[in-house]
């Protein structure tokens, strides 16, 4: 009888313990099983990330994608999360993918288009009364959104080398929004601001815009990219995301988020 009782206890333990573990860790287990979609887009004028998350969660739910959408306002927070565990998907600037793609095994597969183009431009702005000229950019302060640790090389490539200036020697301040940079120039807090050309039209404030003027336009900059992380994204999830963003039949479904992201359509990135 003792033997059968101890067998009974052992069997019961084997049945109950996994149940307790699964029940206790159930919440985290179900969260961990949902692929994560991270978003970092400092060049977008969409700063209300709370609303963006709400709309993207609704969109994914409507599209039958069980993804967790997480936007980031600052690169330092995104870097920290990526180090902990790369997400299944990441929407981030092209420079981010170039810089960290290898390290986090990220592969770009979808690129947005705006007015049919897969690139955009930035404009160097100065105060209206400023005497800075395109040939006299050195020794000036510059406010701009993040372009990562390689920002000087990028700026040289798209604008400053052509003017014989090393961007790395400029006095730069990184800001979270283009509007911060433009306001700083208008108020004389910095001498130059580098902002997205399309965002100028959205800074709908004549009091600011009347105090500044454009100086130089940059070379084209590739649009941000959606990439997947090898190992974190399943082939079926990648295919699902492609369908959701590329399928013409789902255009109406994605209209709202496309407008929020200031994107017209998506294209597949070929190898």
């Amino acid at each position: 009888m003792n033997n059968s009782f101890s067998v009974y206890k052992t069997v019961t333990a084997f049945l109950i313990i996994p149940f307790i573990v699964l029940w206790g860790g159930g919440g985290s287990f179900s969260e961990a099983s949902q692929p994560e979609f991270y978003y970092f887009n400092p060049d977008s004028s969409q700063s209300n990330l709370g609303r963006l998350k709400h709309e993207m969660d609704s969109f994914f739910s409507q599209a039958g994608c069980a993804f967790t959408f997480q936007p980031f306002a600052h690169q330092v927070d995104l870097d920290r999360k990526l180090k902990e565990k790369p997400p299944a998907f990441l929407f981030a600037p092209d420079w981010y993918l170039q810089k960290y793609g290898g390290k986090f095994k990220l592969k770009g597969f979808l690129r947005p288009l705006r007015k049919g183009k897969s690139s955009y431009r930035k404009v160097l702005m100065v105060a209206k009364a400023s005497d800075i000229t395109p040939d006299d950019l050195e020794d000036n302060s510059l406010a701009m959104t993040s372009m990562g640790p390689g920002w000087a090389n990028i700026l040289n490539k798209i604008m400053f080398s052509a003017k014989g200036v090393n961007a790395g020697e400029l006095d730069t301040v990184i800001v979270p929004k283009d509007s911060d940079a433009i306001i700083a120039v208008a108020l004389g807090q910095v001498e130059m601001a580098l902002v997205v050309k399309e965002n100028l039209a959205r800074i709908n404030n004549p009091r600011i815009m009347n105090a500044v003027r454009p100086l130089i336009e940059s070379a084209p900059i590739p649009m941000p990219v959606i990439s997947y992380s090898k190992g974190a994204a399943s082939p079926s999830d990648i295919q699902k995301l492609k369908e959701v963003f590329l399928d013409a039949g789902k255009k109406q479904m994605r209209a709202k988020i496309m407008e929020m992201l200031q994107i017209d359509e998506w294209q597949s990135i070929s190898k």
């Binding site: 004028s45 969409q46 700063s47 209300n48 990330l49 709370g50 609303r51 306002a73 600052h74 330092v76 302060s141 406010a143 640790p149 006095d171 730069t172 301040v173 990184i174 800001v175 979270p176 929004k177 509007s179 911060d180 940079a181 306001i183 700083a184 208008a186 108020l187 004389g188 807090q189 910095v190 959205r202 800074i203 709908n204 404030n205 004549p206 009091r207 600011i208 009347n210 105090a211 929020m260």
Partner: protein, 328 residues
């Protein structure tokens, strides 16, 4: 007898090692005279505590400065300042970045006899109270955004605003009002600034000098003016008069002010790096740099208040705001 003085390989190696040591020692002694003792090339970051308000600017500072960095922490206890500063000074830093009031004051006191070491401070709400600018090696980033930054954001949300009213005390806010007047001029706005000496004079000042003459009310962190009683009265009056209100804290937006414009902590770190590089690379003097206003912002909007004052804001503008408060 063999002409070679080194009879075997072991002796020869010993001779080479000895010679090498002599040369290196000589170079080190020479270097100590040629190079300044305090220019170690590394930067010391001194934190007031582990609170994110202090660590966030430091984190960004560390990433952007492109120099070796050592981190020190008072852990909220100013009594540790002598010991911590002694440790910092023993490392011979080329610059100290102090995040928070305790760290900034510790750095000021600790470098009183070492003003060859520049200090850049940030996240000190009342830096004037600590007389941080009184020492020639100190420069900093202010905690509150400039008046012009608030006006610019206010007029983006409410383009019809032309006249901004503010009540202030000369004892606490004289300088900020001067900055505000300059900014208002740049933006083509009229600033009507009414000084008071006592908290209880606020209502009379508003009714006699501002009522009917303004479109917006600017609420500044002035302890004489903005007591809880005065704030409550102003909130009710501004809704009744359909005034746009702008302040500098998320809390007052939650209490009913329309808009707040706070400094972004990451951008404060970046601004501090800009100042540090000006000192270390461009050799500018800290006392000439002074205290710079932060540029990056976090904006907070109360949509319920917008509705109460009849202010219609487009979704496009709302989407440019970082935090939107509304009743569900």
């Amino acid at each position: 007898m063999n002409g070679n003085p080194y009879q075997n390989k072991k002796d020869y190696r010993r001779f080479l090692n000895f010679g090498f040591l002599v040369i290196i020692s000589g170079l080190l002694v020479l270097g100590a005279f040629v190079f300044p003792v305090y220019a170690s090339g590394s930067v010391a970051i001194l934190l007031t505590s582990d609170e994110e308000a202090y660590t966030r600017p430091a984190e960004v500072f560390m990433k952007e400065i492109n120099m070796p960095v050592e981190i020190f922490n008072l852990h909220g206890d100013f009594k540790k300042h002598k010991k911590v500063m002694a440790e910092i000074l023993s490392k011979k830093p080329s610059l100290i970045f102090a995040s928070g009031a305790k760290a900034a004051y510790a750095a000021k006191v600790g470098t009183q006899s070492r003003q060859d070491i520049p200090v850049v401070f940030a996240k000190v709400l009342n830096w004037k109270k600590y007389k941080l600018r009184g020492q020639k090696n100190m420069a900093g980033v202010a905690t509150l955004v400039a008046p012009g930054t608030q006006f610019a954001n206010m007029t983006t949300v409410a383009p019809e605003v032309k006249r901004i009213g503010v009540i202030y005390s000369k004892a606490h806010s004289k300088e900020i009002i001067e900055d505000a007047k300059k900014a208002a001029m740049i933006l083509g706005l009229e600033l009507i600034a009414e000084p008071i000496a006592r908290s209880k004079d606020m209502r009379r000042a508003y009714e006699k000098k501002l009522e009917g003459r303004i479109d917006a009310l600017w609420i500044i962190a002035d302890p004489v003016v903005y007591t809880p009683k005065n704030m409550d009265w102003l909130k009710r009056r501004s809704i009744r008069r359909k005034l746009v209100t702008v302040g500098q804290s998320e809390n007052i937006v939650k209490l009913g002010v329309l808009l707040a414009v706070n400094a972004d902590d990451s951008s404060i770190g970046s601004r501090a790096v800009s100042i540090a590089k000006r000192i270390l690379v461009k050799k500018k003097k800290p006392k000439k740099i002074k205290v710079k206003a932060p540029i990056g912002t976090v904006t907070i909007l109360n949509l319920n208040t917008a509705g109460k004052i009849g202010l219609k804001i487009s979704q496009e503008i709302i989407d440019t705001i970082n935090i939107v408060i509304k009743k569900k």
